[in-house]
Amino acid sequence: MSELPLEMPAAAAERADWLHRKANWIRLSAMTMNHRAGLGHTGGDLSSADMLATLYLGGVLRVDPAEPHWPARDRFILSKGHGAAAFYSTLAARGFFPAERLRTYMEPLSMLNGHPDRNKLPGVEANTGPLGHGLPIAVGAALAARMRHEPWRVFVMTGDGELQEGSNWEAAMTAQHYGLDNLTVIVDRNRIQQGDFTENTIRMEPLAARFAAFGFAVEEIDGHDTGALLERFTHLPLEVGKPSCVIARTVKGKGVSFAENQPAWHHGVPTAEQLAAATQELDVEVGW
């Protein structure tokens, strides 16, 4: 385990690896939080980590931890609010609050609620948790940027099972009607929801075709390839005049062999032994 440079390297080839290792730190940090709290959603924390790292640490999102409510900031909304541990770890890594605060996750009166609360924690844009809320809010924010003639952008990350909530498709219709090309929907397509694989529950495919039919420009991408993610996220919209949808093919539980692709790890919580094994596999140190 070597020391990671604090800033993303300039060389493109090194960036992907640097982001991947940052993502692994987010993974282990989230698992540690879930272990300490005895609660959490490990599988989705692990599937989203590479995207969160790329957005926040790869210089994609124009945000300022010193001024979290800076009016011209880009907005990122974690619609899958149950991925809070990975999200909080990312915000801490980006400097919105000291990483030590991650120790208080889900403790009484903590700022780190089981699902994000924007009135408690800097960097959080929307109080999410119930599914299907993030995309409508993101559409509203994108409309606000347009009304104000301001260049900031809106990113929203949804789960895949979450897209079974009809409110998403109401919002999708609004996004296409208003041609919101300042909006990017990132789907964490890990193919597993709480009870089972999505395709055994309510079939989500053909997901890309569905978004395309709703008027989005769509691209499917490997949600763990930080180089490809960085390239994609820094070149948006996918098509001028249309909202973008990036379907990130991911593995639920990614990076920790025993948790990968197991529905039980949706809200699985690692034991001390499992956490030690994960530390080995991820090859990082939490440090807080």
């Binding site: 929307a126 299907g132 409508p136 924010a141 409309l143 606000a144 409110s167 109401e170 219709m173 009607h177």
Partner: protein
């Protein structure tokens, strides 16, 4: 502001006209003001707004969950959205969005709940919104206001722009007489004493305020002195006015165009039970879905009239041995 204003005002006004003209006036003066609609431009009186401020008008179509979420997002982006739709759909269809995206988040969104109560009369219980006050007033952070006439509607609309946080504004459709005069100033959480009295207090909001004033006049003719409070704000509630009423008079009659449980009556009863127990009568729609009929017929049917308030007051005082 006197009770006689009611008798002088033979003319009836649609509160929506006041809401609409103030909304347009505010939009002209403040670039943050925008409107979100769910298809029904004419019921929400937004046709002019759309023409005057096309860039600040969003029609999400028939999609209330999305409509409320979009409102929250607009607020996040620094706008002050007025999210306007029929109260029945705005509340029931989007309840979780109102709870989470607005109330819990403290989003600076103003819900304009159109045609509430039984305004849609013959369209039936699907289109009545008699549950809205009970549902809305239990949500932390959400201010709930039921203006009594078009003067108060205009005042509440102007206030809403300086109020930081979510509000639920119940905008009546059934034409109502004026109970306030043009000098009226709205204060959130403050009941307006339209008439003082020592025997009984009539607390009403919305359409029932003018009827309470008529009832007070009829009671006076029978030798009963009735205080009348316009309690347009259900949340935050004017505890002081309620405690004073409980202490100064021999009982309280509440009247609202909503379910008799859970709304204004329930809110008043909670304070009374805590602070100064007194006998109450709570007038509203009983635990039932309304039969077919016009708004006027249904108000009559459920005794939501001056005569209904009067007889409830007499009955209450009789029970008190007066």
């Amino acid at each position: 502001m006197s009770g006689t204003a009611n008798q002088l005002a033979a003319q009836l006004f649609d509160c929506r006209d006041a809401y609409m003209s103030v909304l347009e006036e505010m939009a002209a003066a403040d670039m943050r003001v925008c409107a979100v609609a769910n298809d029904s431009l004419s019921s929400a009186k937004l046709k002019n707004f759309k023409t005057k401020f096309p860039e600040r008008f969003v029609n999400v179509g028939i999609a209330e969950q999305n409509m409320v979420g979009v409102g929250a997002g607009l607020a996040n982006g620094g706008m002050v959205p007025y999210v306007c739709g029929a109260s029945c759909f705005l509340t029931a269809r989007a309840m979780e969005q109102v709870k989470v995206d607005l109330a819990y988040t403290r989003a600076n969104v103003k819900l304009c709940a159109m045609s509430p109560g039984m305004a849609y009369g013959q369209l039936g219980p699907t289109h009545h919104s008699i549950e809205d006050l009970a549902w809305m007033r239990v949500l932390p952070n959400l201010a709930v206001v039921v203006p009594a006439d078009s003067i108060e509607t205009a005042a509440v609309m102007r206030y809403s722009l300086i109020h930081e946080g979510p509000m639920f504004l119940r905008i009546g459709r059934t034409p109502a007489p004026s109970v306030h005069d043009d000098s009226y100033e709205f204060k959130l959480g403050k009941a307006v004493k339209l008439r003082d009295g020592r025997d009984v207090t009539l607390i009403a909001n919305g359409l029932l305020v003018s009827k309470a004033l008529d009832a007070a006049q009829a009671l006076e003719a029978r030798g009963v002195s009735a205080r009348v409070l316009n309690m347009s704000t259900i949340k935050p509630l004017d505890r002081e006015a309620i405690v004073d009423a409980a202490r100064d008079t021999h009982g309280i009659v509440t009247a609202e165009e909503a379910l008799a449980t859970g709304g204004l009556g329930g809110a008043v009863a909670e304070i009374v039970a805590h602070e100064h127990p007194t006998r109450m009568r709570m007038l509203g729609v009983p635990d039932t879905f309304a039969p077919t009929g016009t708004a006027e017929f249904l108000l009559e049917h459920f005794g939501l009239t001056a005569a209904g308030i009067e007889s409830a007051a007499i009955d209450l005082l009789r029970k008190e041995g007066r």
